[in-house]
Subunit: 246 residues, 2 copies
């Protein structure tokens, strides 16, 4: 497979850098072709400017290169440390600039009957995506009743709104907590667990998000039909099967 790793960490001596290097080696040893967009090393321009906004967009070379990598990839891994409960700004700015009108959104027919190809359809349909996220806090802090908010809900805007939106299937995330207490044994354990996930990228069942255009939503209100999961509200309503964690 062709695998793209979009990677954001400023420190080449970091745990994230070691995990990224491990992932590249492991995937290459498995016969895959890997490209890495190392956003800090590339000095990625993360700031969407007014003259790049939709109708005025004059796509720049850096954006076109990233779009080409996305088209090339079968699977895309987004790797980052959880900063303030989301992705680092440099990666958010990658999304904002690379997901241009006609590529990341505004794809397909828009009418009273159809609100474009998105949420399961779009430019990146047929590809798979997975988050690889590290956090300093404990796993319990991100558990269903943990004070930071349940990790599944914290990642929903990325999983559903950034990965599923332009059509990718979204695999359950690879999560590593308590990064501050890392040592050699724990790192080896993390690599073993990550290796298993990398070996099963093609076969792991994706998160069962409901597809926009398969009949589950009223259009143009874009609300879940009253007959489906009656009473369900919030993020979990957009899962076709009962969630295990939400």
């Amino acid at each position: 497979m062709n695998i793209l790793i979009v990677y954001a960490h400023p420190d080449p001596q970091s745990l994230n850098a070691s995990l990224k290097d491990y992932a590249v080696r492991h995937l290459q040893a498995g016969g895959h072709t890997v490209q890495v967009s190392d956003l800090y090393a590339m000095e990625w321009n993360a700031i969407l400017q007014a003259d790049e906004i939709p109708e005025r967009a004059d796509h720049r070379a850096d954006i076109l290169r990233e779009q080409e990598k996305l088209r090339w990839a079968n699977t895309v891994i987004f790797q980052f440390p959880l900063w303030w409960f989301s992705m680092p700004a440099i990666m958010k700015g990658w999304v904002e600039r690379v997901y241009t009108l006609g590529f990341g959104y505004g794809v397909g027919e828009h009418s009273d009957q159809r609100w474009g190809d998105r949420y399961g359809e779009g430019t990146l349909a047929g590809k798979r995506a997975m988050l690889l996220v590290t956090a300093g806090g404990w796993e319990s802090h991100y558990s269903p009743r943990g004070i930071n908010g349940a990790i599944d809900e914290l990642l929903f805007p990325i999983h559903h709104g950034i990965l599923f939106y332009p059509g990718m299937e979204v695999l359950p995330p690879f999560l590593l907590y308590r990064t501050g207490r890392m040592n050699e044994a724990l790192f080896a354990e993390a690599c073993a667990r990550l290796g298993q996930r990398l070996d099963t990228l093609a076969t792991t069942a994706p998160i069962p998000f409901r597809r926009q255009n398969d009949g589950d939503y009223d259009i143009p209100a874009m609300t879940l039909k009253a007959t489906l999961a009656p009473g369900a509200q919030g993020f979990k309503a957009h899962l076709a099967q009962p969630p295990s964690l939400l």
Copy 2:
């Protein structure tokens, strides 16, 4: 009151710019003192670098200026267009760089009995915060069963994880949808509604997030005590009163 508006939109001709200008004029006419951090106009450096990470931090002048504005303010308004279901990268990078160790996090005693001053306590305790968010989509798309995800849940990582975390009380957001169909009458309507919210910044009831150190959470697991809201999971578990929208 002293009011800080942290503002992110690249286009000075935009709806967001007009709303920001209205807010400044309205607040000043009401006798308030207003400062605006216009992140695009300031060419804010949004990229946290390795040499700014905690222990190595050598706080830069731009960071200190923003921290000083936060200390000065009684109320902080964060204004931005919703891009990919969160704040623009330039504002996320403002949070990452301005919320330094000892200012935005790592405040207060950390032990087995206490996990610092956060979630209701911290450097910004006693202040109020409000989001002012515009979205291109319809309100129904962000309703409790809307395809984009309920807006209360989409904003939770910001409300709870960025505003409440360092101690601010969080007011319900000011939201403006369908920005693409704006006209003079709709703009006047939006300003009237915004004016009401600005006139009641000091009296509006905040979102009733549970405070970390008031006894609701087990420490150090930091999970909601089993006796409280039994069965509740996810974001809504962190509200002390039943949510209206979640």
